[in-house]
């Protein structure tokens, strides 16, 4: 049985539908992420799970019990707030002890549990400090320890790493994964950062305009986006819009030919049956596109000639923006791992871009 069940939850603010008939369940021990741009309803959803807001329709069920009439302080759910919300008049140890004191634990029990939690987040030597004496990363760890110390059934995390710099964020991501594994508490994590979501989660629900666009494992979300929005929001993606000119059944789904304006015909694979005349987009990740100086003629490849318009040197990789002779833009990514080479092409170089027919993924609609 699922630990948390969100059933047909809707929340309106005036005319604005913040959360629109959303349903999903989270399993015990799972690291579940709500991912989406700001205003997509993910934070509203989180606040409703925590109990600070109530759905206009639908229900939120934890361990089989509808939480409708349970106030936030009675829910076995704790939250790590984006601003950390540490109590400024309490030391680190007192902050972490707070939920234990509220739960009426004994002094000795509190002492042991706080010491344990401090060790878990590596802050034992900071227990007597006040929040204003801590760095951003340390505050974040205190907030985590405070949320976890009383073993909630569910820990909600609202963009907990958003305020930290990139390097620290990466370190804390690793700590977060290990911590979640160690304590075995179910995490529901909210973020607008797709790399964070991909790195941390067991499953991701991608949200847009109050609805879940796709709910799946990170690798599936990345490789097989089911909507144009997901393809565009998660990582970079080439989207070729067109109509299906021909369709024939094949081993991996339906082999289709897509007519794309300013590019030509693309052969691609679509999952399930797709009828001729269907319009949609083909999503191809830049790293799946091969870029070379010499045209190659492999039969299972789509290939087009063009010239390099721009390139972005990113260190580990270089992103090339290629304009085909028809005038369509194609983004291709090349790893800079070859020894002694930092750059393969210059702007203006004539190049050949190609990808296998099964490198992309057809999204109808």
């Amino acid at each position: 049985m699922a630990l948390l069940d969100v059933r047909n939850v809707t929340r309106r603010f005036g005319d604005f539908v913040a959360v629109d008939d959303v349903s999903f369940s989270v399993n015990a021990g799972e690291f579940f992420t709500l991912l989406g741009p700001s205003g997509c309803g993910k934070t509203t959803l989180l606040r409703m799970i925590a109990g600070f807001d109530a759905p206009d329709a639908g229900s939120i069920v934890l361990d089989g019990i509808d939480l409708r009439s349970t106030p936030p302080e009675k829910r076995p759910i704790h939250t790590v707030f984006q601003s950390y919300a540490l109590f400024p008049h309490m030391t680190v140890a007192q902050n972490i002890a707070f939920p234990l004191r509220m739960a009426g634990k004994s002094r000795s029990e509190i002492h042991a549990m706080v010491a344990d939690a401090l060790g878990q987040v590596k802050l034992t030597d900071k227990s007597a400090r006040y929040p204003h004496e801590l760095s951003g990363g340390q505050k974040q760890r205190v907030a985590l320890a405070r949320g976890l110390v009383n073993r909630p059934r569910l820990l909600l995390l609202d963009e907990p790493l958003a305020a930290l710099d990139a390097k620290l964020r990466e370190d804390l991501q690793l700590e977060l994964i290990n911590l979640q594994k160690d304590v075995g508490i179910t995490f529901v994590y909210v973020t607008h950062d797709q790399t964070e979501a991909l790195a941390l989660s067991h499953r991701i629900a991608v949200m847009n305009h109050g609805k879940i666009e796709q709910l799946d494992e990170p690798s599936r979300i990345y490789s097989f986006p089911t909507t144009r929005f997901v393809a565009d929001f998660i990582g970079h993606c080439n989207l070729f819009d067109g109509d299906i000119a021909a369709a024939s059944p094949s081993a991996g789904g339906t082999l289709v030919e897509l007519d794309v304006e300013r590019l030509g015909r693309i052969r691609a694979l679509a999952s399930g049956g797709v009828a001729t005349g269907t319009s949609g987009s083909l999503a191809v990740r830049p790293e799946r596109i091969r870029i070379s100086a010499e045209p190659t003629q492999a039969s299972e490849e789509n290939h087009y000639t063009g010239h390099v318009r721009d390139f972005l040197y990113m260190g580990d990789v270089t992103v090339y923006i290629v304009e085909t002779t028809g005038g369509h833009r194609v983004e291709a990514l090349l790893a800079n791992s070859a020894a002694g080479r930092t750059q393969f092409f210059e702007a203006g170089d004539r190049v050949d871009v190609a990808w296998r027919y099964d490198a992309g993924h057809f999204i109808a609609g």
């Binding site: 936030p72 302080e73 009675k74 919300a85 540490l86 109590f87 002890a97």
Partner: protein, 310 residues
């Protein structure tokens, strides 16, 4: 490339010793120092000197130099030290000011809290209402209380209507210690509400969400989060109420009975009625000393302490 390290050292050395910056430092600190000198240090010195002089024959002070020698005395201090009545008046004043402060806190805190939690667009209007009484004359407002607490008022009659059935004689609150405290609380309440509101309004609402999320009900959210965080406002309000309430004379004069002489009245008497300025100066100095001592004590108690225990 020219070597710049010695120059850097030179600049650093000068800024460390502070010599290079002294004119600017003085530009900044001179005005407040001059202000304190003119409005605090010099008047205080005048009072200290006055306390050692003889009273003049027809009020005022006797000349400080007479027949070519200094004409100073400690008579006023002796008088203060030998008669316990003055300490009793001081003690009574401290008790009245203390009760006033406590009553202002109990009445002002809920008010400040409610205003700070009301919708933003109403807050300024509500605070304006709190300070609105300042726009009319202080004495007029106190005289209004004479009517309210007097024998004919609806308030007095209502009280007597309530206590008559339980066999109590009718009362008139006017000219009593109760009336004095009512007047003191009424006059000083805004001074408690203002700093409390300024503090409470700045509280991060996320802290209350966090407390609730972590299991605290409304009662504990207040006592564990809101109240401790508002302590600077409480102390500021307490100081702004207690210190003026300690020295006030108009309210006991108007609303109090013959028994309700406070230290402010005593000082006023020395200057205006008994015309003993040196003794009035002594009483004023002791009042200042008591106010400073209590403020210091409060600062000591309010000082944030580091506690290592959970």
């Amino acid at each position: 490339m020219p070597d710049t390290s010695s120059r850097v050292d030179e600049v650093r050395g000068r800024s460390l010793t502070g010599r290079a910056h002294w004119p600017r430092q003085w530009l900044v600190s001179a005005p407040p120092l001059a202000y304190l000198l003119v409005f605090f240090a010099i008047p205080a010195m005048i009072m200290v000197i006055a306390s050692f002089r003889h009273p003049g024959e027809f009020g005022g002070l006797a000349p400080i130099v007479e027949d070519g020698r200094l004409n100073l005395t400690v008579e006023a201090y002796e008088r203060f030290a030998t008669d316990p009545i003055y300490w009793q008046v001081f003690a009574k004043s401290v008790v009245f000011a203390g009760i006033t402060t406590l009553a202002c806190l109990l009445l002002g805190y809920p008010l400040a809290l409610l205003i700070s939690r009301s919708p933003r667009r109403y807050r300024d209007i509500l605070m304006l209402l709190v300070i609105l009484p300042f726009w009319s004359n202080f004495l007029i407002r106190v005289y209004a209380w004479m009517i309210i607490l007097g024998p004919q008022s609806a308030f007095t009659r209502a009280i007597n209507a309530v206590i008559a059935p339980i066999g109590l004689d009718p009362v008139t609150p006017l000219f009593s210690s109760f009336a004095v405290v009512v007047g003191l609380v009424y006059v000083h309440l805004p001074f408690m509400v203002l700093p409390l509101y300024a503090n409470l309004e700045k509280h991060d609402p996320a802290l209350l969400d966090a407390a609730q999320d972590l299991g605290a009900d409304a009662w504990r959210r207040f006592w564990r989060v809101t109240f401790p965080l508002s302590m600077p406002g409480v102390w500021a309000g307490a100081a702004l109420v207690f210190i003026p309430a300690l020295g006030i004379f108009a309210i006991p004069d108007i609303l109090g009975g013959t028994e309700d002489t406070l230290i402010g009245n005593l000082i006023k008497q020395q200057f205006l009625e008994t015309r003993d300025w040196p003794f009035g100066s002594v009483l004023s100095l002791v009042l200042t000393a008591i106010a400073l001592a209590l403020a210091g004590l409060a600062a000591l108690i309010a000082r944030p302490r580091r506690r290592t225990t959970v």
